[in-house]
């Protein structure tokens, strides 16, 4: 009985923190329509800042709390809104997702630079009123837990009061219902959005400061990931209802705690308990009633035209020749890096197909790379082609399976479902099947007659040829009937449906094809690495992959190659310049933050510049980068 009570109390405390932070997510989403994937990172930075102030700089606790929660976080939130989020209003969901994911990666990178993980064990935060506890029936409850619950209750009541009574709160609700009408009635949507981001950040900070002492030594990843789970109760609250969100938070806190407490420690579910919230998220997403297809969105962005077949064949030929030359000039580690670049380039191409052409967001593409590597490890002994075929089939099949549930979802919900899937797979699959204690899985290299692929040189050339083929194939696809179909799906799913297209099926097919391509990349990546670990395919890497593809210009094969090589360089950088080991994430995050204003990415900018310089014949085709339907049609019916 006392055991049950203990678990219940721990679960409630955890649940209260979820409820707090999830309320912050809901408040910002309600008023601005943007779900902040960087919310957890804000909590994490706040906890570290609080540690810095109180422990390192010996500031009084109360002053530090005020500085972090009531000053720092709200100012940061307001700045975020003004600088990054406002330009995102009305932009495609994929950009909204990517910019806030960029914020997440940026803050993670920054925190790793500022507070080196090497010294993490020395960073602990004392609990509030440490040493004091209260006896409740047969168990002792420490004051910190009581503080957490009290704060959560106070915030819940405060928010309730705020939204029903205060002028600002009522105006915020009005903006949610109808921004145009609210503006006419005198509400200022920009000010309200700014306020809600400030409030959201403050709640994130509050959650972080309360959570950190419960987790022992401050851990950047653990803090961030814990708060990211707040997405789950927020979705249960349908990103709208605060009471449902709070209830969702408590349920998840309790569910996870009971699972840890009561399931036998070596049972499958216990091992995978970290995945429970994400499994709940996936189920909740699938069961949620979907909003209608919305019209009047932004139409597709200007993307470079696909080069003709002859041009892409020439480019592929040149690429292969360059690869052969490189293989003669470079060896050892550098050749390994180059190989990683080209084979991961195939995974990047899988996102060019999915996100660039079809406009669907996947936050879990690395998962399919991982299942490809897994299939190759088990069925590709001695480099058998069977392994590669199995990799394509397994990943493609898994992609289709996810898609069966996910294609019904749109935009943000689709992105979230891929995140939930990838995150769950991290714990359910990768942590358990990639060698004991993550020691790794050994993978053989694909054997091709006439090419010594066991040599690094031969395998690099194989990788380059397969990348070139995939690139040419993708471009051919884009120029053709299927490419038009995907562009149409991207530009207007609604129009496609009324022209007789089964959208769900089309999305399923492209999801599956993209996953299959990622699986192919995984089989080759495994061969290149010889030994792959679960860390290679973590969700975090999927996020970085998506950001890089968008930075490279999401529909550009060349952009995918360039950013894939960059990605392959990350571990090298880490090895050679340990002091800057996280600078790459800072830069990638920073780059992604600019995508709100520059949706075509660096690659798109370069292409545009080239078009301007090389071909001045006044290509009438390149229209404005953005055409907002709503704006163009203002007054059309009045």
């Amino acid at each position: 009985m006392s055991e049950f009570l203990t678990y219940t109390i721990i679960g409630l405390v955890t649940g209260c923190i979820y409820a707090l932070t999830a309320s912050g997510l809901v408040v910002t989403y309600m008023t601005t329509g943007i779900l902040n994937f960087g919310h957890g990172a804000v909590s994490m930075v706040a906890a570290f800042a609080y540690w810095q102030l109180t422990i390192e700089w010996h500031m009084p606790v109360l002053l530090a709390l005020i500085l972090v929660i009531l000053v720092g976080a709200p100012v940061f939130g307001a700045l975020l809104e003004r600088l990054l989020m406002r330009p995102l209003q009305g932009k495609p969901v994929e950009l909204q997702v990517v910019v806030t994911v960029g914020l997440l990666i940026f803050l993670l990178g920054l925190a790793n630079l500022a507070w080196s993980p090497a010294a993490s064990a020395t960073r602990t935060l004392p609990r509030f009123f440490s040493g004091h506890s209260l006896k409740l029936a047969s168990v002792f409850v420490d004051y910190h837990s009581i503080v957490v619950v009290a704060v959560a209750v106070a915030v819940a009541i405060g928010l309730r009061f705020f939204f029903s009574v205060s002028r600002t709160g009522v105006a915020m609700r009005a903006v949610v219902d109808n921004p145009g009408l609210a503006a006419m009635a005198g509400a200022r949507p920009n000010r309200i959005a700014q306020f809600s981001w400030a409030l959201g950040a403050a709640l994130a900070a509050l959650g972080g400061v309360l959570l950190a002492p419960l987790q022992g030594a401050l851990n950047i990843d653990l803090l961030t990931l814990t708060v990211i789970l707040a997405i789950v109760p927020a979705v249960i609250g349908r990103l709208r209802s605060l009471p449902l969100t709070v209830a969702g938070g408590l349920v998840i806190g309790l569910a996870v705690t009971y699972a840890v407490g009561y399931l036998p420690p070596d049972s499958f579910v216990a091992k995978a308990q970290t995945a429970i919230p994400m499994v709940i998220l996936f189920v909740a997403l699938v069961l949620l009633r979907q909003e209608r297809l919305r019209s009047g969105r932004v139409t597709g962005m200007t993307i470079a035209r696909a080069p003709s077949l002859s041009r892409s064949l020439v480019a592929a030929g040149v690429f292969i020749v360059v690869a052969v030359v490189v293989s003669e000039l470079v060896s050892g580690v550098n050749l390994g890096t180059a190989t990683r670049g080209v084979v991961l380039g195939i995974a990047f191409l899988s996102l060019v197909l999915l996100t660039g052409y079809a406009g669907q967001v996947s936050l879990g593409q690395m998962t399919f790379v991982g299942t490809g590597a897994y299939a190759m490890a088990h069925l590709g002994h001695h480099g058998s082609l069977v392994g590669v075929l199995a990799a394509v089939a397994v990943s493609g099949g898994l992609g289709a399976l996810v898609a069966i549930f996910a294609v019904r979802l749109r935009g943000l919900y689709l992105a979230l479902s891929t995140l939930a899937f990838a995150y769950a797979m991290d714990y359910i699959f990768f942590d358990q099947h990639f060698g004991p204690y993550g020691s790794g899985l050994s993978v053989d290299r694909l054997h091709v007659p006439g090419l010594d692929t066991t040599s690094d040189k031969g395998f690099f050339i194989l990788g380059a040829v397969i990348f070139a083929l995939a690139g040419v194939g993708l471009l051919a696809l884009r120029r053709g009937r299927y490419g038009r179909r995907l562009a149409a799906l991207n530009d207007s799913p609604q129009a496609c449906a009324t022209l007789g297209v089964n959208i769900a099926y089309t999305k399923l097919a492209v999801f599956s094809a993209s996953a299959a391509l990622a699986g192919l990349a995984g089989a080759l990546y495994g061969g290149q690495q010889h030994l792959v670990t679960s860390a290679d395919f973590q969700t975090f890497n999927s996020l970085v992959l998506l950001l890089l593809v968008l930075l490279g210009g999401k529909s550009l094969v060349s952009g995918a190659l360039a950013t894939a090589v960059l990605y392959a360089l990350f571990p090298v950088l880490q090895q050679h310049v340990p002091s800057l080991s996280n600078i790459q994430y800072v830069l990638v995050g920073l780059g992604a933050l600019t995508l709100g204003r520059n949706p075509e990415g660096l690659g798109g900018q370069i292409t545009r510049l080239r078009d301007l310089l090389v071909d001045r014949s006044g290509r009438a085709e390149s229209g404005p980068a953005w055409t907002v339907e709503g704006e163009r049609l203002v007054g059309a019916d009045g």
């Binding site: 019209s295 139409t299 179909r485 207007s492 129009a495 009324t498 022209l499 089964n502 229209g623």
Partner: protein
């Protein structure tokens, strides 16, 4: 121009022959359709019919529910009650793409073009979609060239659609819809953004389509155009059909004049309609009644 290719209709109620509906040439039947958004009635017991071989007009002030009705007919919106029939077949619960395959196509008031594709590719894509689900469709490329001439878009065929004026983009949607060879064509304000000559051309084209056997249901703000080319006109106000009949009958109807001029007729209190349409009823500058 010959009659459009009739699609093989699914279900038992399929009509084997040409465009003929349930015996009297009616292709589309809307029966007692009601839709509410959060307590506000957008449509209330709306019934109408559109016959083959001619234009049926649907007019009404802003917010009257015209686009909502189109969404119900095409399956993008579920009605709270009522049903839609195409050629006698009940479409209740049918997904939008299945309805399209039975031979209906539409345009959108808020443009839904494929902005990243050229004008030609927009129409070509429509034709290719048609070919992908229809067994006896023609070569998409030749369909496309024919339609480019027919809707008068040849001069801009190679331009990206998000770079052309709104009025032309509406014609692109019309051309794209025609590429699926529909027997029922739903047009949501195809004339807005067109100049006088262009709208003249549009009127001629719609009459031609009617003569070729297509049932055209036309929502249009240019009331003169509607009155000129329609056989039958329905008037929607606050989600209800307040009048129907020949253009001259409708023009003479006092309810219609009231709805358009913004004065309340003494007999009609507007029923349960909430605030949804009130902003629109006075702002319409249609003024083409008299």
């Amino acid at each position: 121009m010959s009659a459009p290719t009739a699609e093989p209709a699914t279900g038992a109620s399929s009509v084997g022959g040409t465009e003929v509906g349930d015996g009297d040439g009616v292709v589309l039947r809307v029966e007692d359709v009601s839709v509410s958004f959060g307590g506000i009635r957008a449509l209330h017991m709306v019934s109408l019919a559109a016959g083959a071989g001619g234009v049926t007009g649907l007019i009404g002030p802003n917010g009257a529910g015209k686009t909502t009705l189109f969404n119900v007919i095409t399956g993008l919106e579920k009605p709270a009650q009522g049903r839609v029939r195409l050629g006698g077949a009940d479409l209740s619960g049918m997904a939008p793409h299945r309805r399209a395959r039975l031979g209906m196509a539409r345009t959108f008031q808020r443009l839904e073009v494929f902005g990243s594709l050229s004008v030609r590719d927009n129409i070509l894509t429509g034709a290719e979609f048609h070919r992908s689900w229809s067994r006896h469709a023609e070569d998409p490329a030749s369909v496309t060239e024919e339609i480019l001439d027919r809707v008068g878009l040849r001069a801009v065929a190679d331009l990206r659609v998000d770079a052309i004026p709104t009025g032309m983009a509406r014609l692109v949607e019309l051309g794209r819809a025609l590429a699926t060879r529909p027997r029922l064509l739903l047009l949501d304000e195809p004339g807005s953004g067109l100049d006088e000559n262009e709208s003249e051309d549009l009127g001629r084209l719609l009459i031609e389509l009617g003569e070729a056997g297509v049932a055209v249901l036309l929502v249009e703000h240019d009331v003169d155009l509607v009155m000129r080319i329609s056989r039958t006109v329905f008037v929607l106000d606050f989600g209800r059909i307040i009048a129907s009949g020949s253009p001259s009958e409708v023009q003479a109807d006092p309810h219609v004049r009231a709805a358009y001029l913004g004065t309340q007729p003494s007999t009609d209190d507007g029923g349960g309609a909430g605030s949804a349409g009130s902003a629109g009823s006075s702002s319409s500058g249609g003024g083409g009644g008299a």
